[in-house]
């Protein structure tokens, strides 16, 4: 009998080339001598091959013959359109740049290497002068597809089964989050992806509309822009020192800047209706920020710090 890799390759070629779907009997007939004679052994070997091909990403289609002489029989084929990678039309320097990006952020990733080979790029080298460690979570690829395809997903989080319309993914402070609309709660929610229990599954046939202008950074719950929900909420005036001013303004948007000092320090306007969230944001700056007004919020922060200072 032929080597397994040879049989797999032949099966793949046959299913790609066949002008009509083929049953297992027909497949075994074409691939003379490559599958066992006994019906049970043949089915087992074929199922193993089919699983192996699907495992490496080959989309094998199947249909059940609805009527006639072969009613109930399963037939298989591969749709070339779904099999082949569309040409990305990458220039050589672009493919090379993706290779460098992968080496800098996912060194040693076997899937990353496979992906690069498919795009015509070469072997990852492991020593990028500038690098980032991207955290991993098994749910990420399915979530990414669901966000792009506007498909709802199902997953377990803190012991609750949830159905969520994923609007976007965000990597912040070293963690991946999914932000979206939770059907059970009927509101926008944020979940940390590495805390999802078990798997993430796309809900077949579902679809959703993402709110216009959605930006995961702005939608993140601890984002100061979202502290307080309506137009009429109180705002605080906060002074931020030179060291942290640039990053803070980038997160807040220019329009919140009320004053700008010669040394780069700024005073910004930030909603403070949600006091715990506001306080948490403010104290993230430690001694580099100070709430100027309103007086009651200022007094609250002072009392809070006094409790810590002892």
């Amino acid at each position: 009998m032929a080597e397994r890799v040879e049989r797999l390759t032949n099966l793949l070629a046959l299913l790609l080339e066949t002008p009509q779907p083929l049953s297992l009997v027909e497949i075994a007939g074409e691939m003379t001598g490559q599958y066992p004679e006994s019906q049970t052994a043949r089915r087992a070997a074929f199922e193993r091959d089919k699983a192996a091909l699907r495992e490496i990403g080959v989309p094998i289609e199947q249909e059940i013959v609805p009527g006639g002489e072969y009613a109930g029989q399963t037939r298989y084929w591969i749709d070339r359109e779904r099999y082949e990678l569309r040409d990305l039309d990458l220039a050589e320097d672009e493919a090379r740049a993706l290779q460098v990006a992968m080496a800098a952020t996912r060194p040693g990733s076997t899937s990353g290497q496979e992906a690069l080979w498919k795009l015509g790029a070469g072997v990852l080298d492991h020593s990028a002068p500038v690098a980032a460690v991207l955290p991993d979570a098994p749910g990420l690829p399915v979530l990414r597809e669901a966000v792009a395809g506007r498909t709802s997903v199902r997953f377990r989080y803190r012991d609750v089964e949830r159905t969520v319309d994923p609007w976007g993914l965000l990597l912040r402070d070293g963690f991946w989050y999914v932000i979206g609309f939770d059907h059970g709660r009927s509101e926008q929610r944020t979940y940390r992806i590495d805390r999802i229990e078990d798997s993430v599954d796309a809900v077949a046939g579902s679809s959703f509309e993402r709110p216009a202008g959605f930006d995961p950074r702005a939608a993140f719950p601890e984002d100061p822009k979202l502290i307080g929900a309506t137009e009429t909420v109180p705002v605080a005036r906060v002074r931020i020192d030179t060291e942290r001013a640039r990053a803070a303004v980038r997160d807040l948007d220019e329009e919140r800047v009320l004053w700008r000092g010669d040394d780069g320090a700024v005073e910004v306007e930030v909603p403070c209706a949600n006091l715990p969230a506001f306080r948490s944001w403010l104290l993230g700056f430690a001694e580099h920020a100070e709430v100027i007004e309103p007086a009651d919020v200022r007094a609250h922060v002072v009392a809070w710090l006094e409790a810590v200072a002892g």
Partner: protein
């Protein structure tokens, strides 16, 4: 020839064949290097591919012969295009490219940006809101990245984790990286004569010495490996119900409780002392730092510094 699983061999063939067909004639050695195989494996797999075929559909998969270390490919038949990207591969590529665009030195109009745009379009990403990556960087990071590329020697003042005073040392930066929200530089360090990893936000002063020094060949530590390291300091926090978000936001080793009053006890790795201090300020009276006890004073002092600011004005 090494024994490799059939799936792996087929997978490799499916990327190797389209690449070969596009080129027509390639030295065996080049193919072996590019696809991370031994030369024997390349020859073995191509010979096998040449034997595959199913008349009348496909006479032979690939018309190939190997002569004097050269692979020569004839008329392309099957497998002229690679297999589509699976969901994991698609994510890896997109995340890697988006993250690399956030790294120091990324050119918004460069080859990576152009390649990323093409990739994103092919993956159905109709805008950039679907997957966002933030790598907030302190200002010194750009400077260190330039030095690492140019092999510049720098003089730095560095405040280590266990001391209050800065030491002055000369370093040749080799790799600048970020992990869990902090930035680090691995460098050849003249003080220890070894490769050392420094936290960028602990560098208090930085000046080029004017020298260019070839980097040593001492191996660099793998970014990311240190975090799971047992030697990384742990903290034990006592958290009120209102402070439970810490468990959601940060990696933790263990959570005990909650007790009758709703408080729980959490052990977690301390990414940086500064991070722990900031977190304790944010938690305020909702949390208690059980261990390390020596940092309680550091937290109180930090609160005192912020308070001083309020009392001044």
């Amino acid at each position: 020839m090494t024994v490799r699983p059939a799936e792996q061999r087929l997978r490799r063939l499916l990327v190797m064949l389209p690449w070969l067909m596009e080129r027509g004639e390639v030295p065996v050695r080049e193919v072996a290097e590019r696809f991370d195989l031994s030369e024997q494996d390349v020859v073995g797999d191509l010979e096998l591919a040449a034997m595959c075929g199913l008349p009348p559909f496909v006479d032979e998969l690939i018309d190939v012969f190997i002569d004097e270390g050269m692979i020569v490919v004839g008329v392309p038949r099957l497998f002229t295009r690679p297999l589509r990207l699976n969901s994991v591969e698609a994510f890896e590529l997109l995340a890697a490219a988006r993250a690399a665009m956030e790294l120091p030195g990324a050119d918004p109009d460069g080859a990576l940006a152009r390649g990323l745009a093409k990739l994103a379009r092919a993956l159905g990403e109709d805008d950039t809101a679907g997957v966002k990556i933030e790598l907030d960087k302190p200002e010194l990071v750009d400077r260190l990245a330039t030095a690492a590329t140019a092999h510049e020697q720098l003089r730095i003042d560095y405040v280590g984790a266990d001391r209050d005073e800065a030491t002055t040392r000369r370093i040749v930066p080799r790799q600048v990286f970020t992990d869990r929200g902090e930035w680090y530089v691995s460098a050849d360090d003249d003080r220890s004569g070894e490769v050392r990893t420094f936290r960028v936000d602990r560098i208090t002063a930085l000046d080029p010495t004017g020298a260019r020094v070839a980097p040593s060949d001492a191996p660099l530590p793998a970014p990311g490996a240190w975090f799971d390291d047992e030697s990384v300091r742990r903290a034990v926090l006592h958290l009120s119900p209102a402070a439970h978000w810490v468990v959601e936001r940060f990696p933790v080793d263990t959570v005990e409780g909650p007790d009758a009053a709703g408080w729980s006890r959490v052990t977690l790795p301390v990414a940086s002392e500064q991070w722990l201090v900031r977190t304790m300020l944010r938690l305020g009276p909702e949390a208690e730092l059980v261990e390390p006890a020596d940092l309680r004073g550091v937290v109180a002092a930090a609160a005192g510094r912020v308070l001083a600011r309020y009392r001044r004005s």
